[in-house]
């Protein structure tokens, strides 16, 4: 018998007071909280894994929002475009519009809204082959495909932030650029002219293990201070990467010739403050924590009105039996010095930070809790006004971690999204979509057909639909 090898290309809290007889009570509902499943009624038969959600807000029109997830064009694999979700009623309802220039769906996608005029910028990894596409849409409701402004191959995790200055938008797209010299791959594509031109700015100044981690996250304050957080990968052994957690800063919107060099570490006098050193990043492109892969959780948020105040969250493996642990720290002096851990969250991922205009910090994260075999993904929003000396804890969702089984990775996403506007935190996460009120302690609204009494999803004809992962939008009042 002959064995031959052929190569075939395939695109391949319960908060209970003690009593004589303790009866668990559901968490109290907080007034003003909304949780909305984004899948519209006309796609009630959908059973895809809509992971890695993201959200963009229009400051000029609070009712207008854009959202994305790994949601395919319902037309199927031959479709030349991929969809984006749009709401024009403040998140109460959502439509799916196929206006992204990517075959059926995108790989990584993030987006943000500029202000001159309010246009949507998106950074996507296009299907097929995953090149970066830097896109712009003047009119979110236009049937036209988003306009391509820049593209190149060999990048990972484009992450878009914007600011409006005079009559031009500034766009900052953090990305891991594998074509950067010397393995210093942490990069920010900076546009000072509304995306017409981009300049790739290298922000790593130290030697790496051949590359940086995939997550490079910008945050912009109103005074044009730009912070960027990234993982400075220094060495790796097997699946574990030894990394520094680094923050760079630019005080003038990255408009200079050598941007992102305004924050120097005292240890080596190089740009980039080392917030944590020699942490262990468990790089696992396999279902590792509640079916999700791990290795790139990183978030940074600046107080938009007081740019001295900045929060940072990342995840690593502490080594005390944890799988993956989220850490949250704060600087009140423009990144020069940092607190110790304000929050340490075991077996959590997808941390996202935002700071409201009154200085309240919001922390969105998803954590696996409970015993093996009965574990749950719990999505929480914490708020604090005192650097997490105290905080309000809100459970947005608590769903089985083992169902549905993953269709692909990431199971729920390598990131989710949290933003703030006025007196609200607005965000998005992905989770098991079983219509069970017990899973959504703050309540939930479905657009798609569901039958709550039987906890069933239904298609257009009323037939049962399998449970899957859906994106959920939420709004939560900021602590007064």
């Amino acid at each position: 018998m002959r064995a031959r090898v052929i190569t075939v290309g395939v695109a391949l809290c319960v908060a209970c007071k003690g009593s004589e007889r303790e009866v668990p009570k559901p968490p109290a509902k907080l007034a003003g909280v909304r949780v909305v499943d984004l899948i519209p009624v006309s796609l009630s038969g959908e059973s895809w894994q809509d992971a890695e959600p993201f959200l963009a807000l229009y400051a000029s029109n609070p009712r207008l929002m854009a959202a994305s997830a790994f949601t395919p064009n319902p037309g199927g694999s031959a479709s030349a475009t991929a969809p984006i979700f749009v709401s024009d009623d403040g998140g109460d309802s959502w439509t799916l519009r196929n206006t992204l220039p990517s075959q059926t769906m995108t790989a990584d996608i993030t987006h943000a809204v500029g202000g001159n005029p309010p246009v949507l910028y998106a950074g996507i990894m296009k299907v097929p082959d995953f090149p970066l596409n830097e896109l712009k849409a003047n009119d979110l409701f236009s049937p036209a495909t988003m306009r391509l402004q820049g593209f190149r191959a060999d990048i990972d995790q484009p992450f878009v932030r914007t600011s409006a200055v005079g009559n031009a938008d500034r766009v900052y797209i953090g990305l891991n650029d594998f074509d950067a010299p010397d393995g210093r791959t942490a990069t920010v594509d900076v546009s000072l002219d509304g995306g017409t031109t981009y300049t790739s700015r290298r922000i790593e100044t130290r030697n790496t293990a051949g590359q940086n981690g995939p997550s490079i996250r910008p945050a912009v304050a109103q005074d044009h201070t730009v912070y960027v957080a990234y993982f400075g990968w220094r060495s790796n052994a097997g699946a574990d990467v030894t990394s520094d957690v680094v923050v760079v800063r630019d005080d003038s919107g990255a408009t200079g010739a050598t941007p992102f060099r305004d924050l120097v570490d005292p240890s080596d006098h190089l740009p980039g403050r080392l917030v944590a050193t020699h942490v262990t990043i468990p790089w696992s492109n396999a279902p590792t924590l509640g079916q999700v892969r791990i290795g790139s959780t990183l978030s940074i948020a600046v107080d938009a009105l007081h740019s001295d105040n900045v929060y940072l969250a990342w995840a690593d493996r502490v080594g005390t039996g944890d799988i993956y642990t989220v850490h949250v720290r704060r600087s009140t002096d423009r990144g020069a010095t940092w607190s110790s851990d304000l929050r340490t969250l075991t077996n959590a991922t997808d941390a996202s930070l935002a700071v409201s205009t009154n200085g309240t910090v919001g922390l969105l994260y998803q954590q696996v809790t409970g015993p093996a075999g009965a574990s749950r993904w719990v999505t929480r929003l914490e708020q604090s006004r005192d650097g997490f000396a105290t905080h309000q804890d809100l459970v947005l969702a608590t769903v089985p971690a083992a169902t549905p089984p993953f269709q692909f990775l990431p199971y729920i996403g390598d990131y989710n999204g949290l933003l703030t506007r006025g007196n609200q935190f607005l965000g998005i996460f992905s989770a098991n979509n079983t219509p069970d009120s017990a899973n959504f302690p703050q309540g939930v609204v479905y657009q798609r057909r569901v039958d709550f009494p039987t906890h069933r999803l239904l298609d257009g004809s009323g037939a049962p639909v399998a449970v899957s992962i859906d994106p959920f939008y939420f709004s939560v009042p900021v602590l007064p």
Binding site: R2, A3, V5, P40, W94, T95, N285, Q447, G460
Partner: protein, 208 residues
């Protein structure tokens, strides 16, 4: 161990474009993912607020759904907004078979017309269904034929084992680590019927 037949494909197809009016039914079917018999009820109008009305939008009452993706909720009696291929091509009261692609999905469905066939009035549902099914079979057969022609091997067989791939080709550039790295696996297949490039009784290894 999984037991299954394996058909190995390696190509994707595309047909050259053609003017809508000259498209064969098969070409219309190939480009469409939502096909239905419907009656135009309004011209220059929309059925859902998410779509702005224009001289190219019409509202069509769905009389019979012939093809649609499983996730899409669309049944007879629904009103669909259709963006026509050209303004003025449809008038109220016309019944036709509509070949479309999904455009906007919200409280209702909006589609883009690839083409339409007025046919007889009223459209005989059974005839239209059979015609579309026949055209779809033609498209599927053409797809399959092209796949077979380009594939190195086509076999029916039994997957004996799946294991991490041992790719021999060296990478042409420095190794990089991303979450988009393929997790190559290879299947050991015992060939039961060699359709192309292999014979029954052989064992082949297919990376994926």
């Amino acid at each position: 161990m999984h037991i299954r037949s394996a058909m190995l494909f390696a190509v994707a197809l595309s047909f050259p474009g053609a003017a809508v009016a000259q498209m064969s039914r098969a070409a219309l079917v190939k480009q469409s993912d939502i096909i239905f018999i419907g009656t135009v009820t309004q011209v220059g109008a929309v059925a859902v607020p998410e779509v702005p009305p224009s001289d190219r939008t019409v509202v069509v009452r769905v009389d019979q759904v012939l093809e649609k993706p499983a996730p899409v909720a669309l049944t007879a009696g629904d009103s669909v907004t259709v963006e026509t291929a050209r303004a003025g091509s449809l008038k109220a009261g016309i019944q036709a078979t509509f070949y479309t692609t999904g455009w906007i999905f919200g409280r209702g469905v909006a589609v883009r017309e690839v083409g339409h066939e007025p046919g007889q009035s009223p459209v005989v549902t059974a005839d239209a269904r059979e015609a579309v099914a026949r055209a779809r079979a033609v498209v599927n057969d053409a797809d399959l034929k092209a796949h077979i022609q380009r594939a190195a091997m086509v076999v029916a067989g039994r997957v004996e084992q799946v294991r991490p791939a041992e790719l021999t080709a060296a990478p042409t550039r420095p190794r990089r680590i991303t979450e988009h790295d393929p997790d190559w696996q290879e299947a050991i297949i015992q060939v039961e019927d060699g359709i192309k490039g292999a014979q029954a009784g052989e064992q082949v290894v297919v990376p994926r």
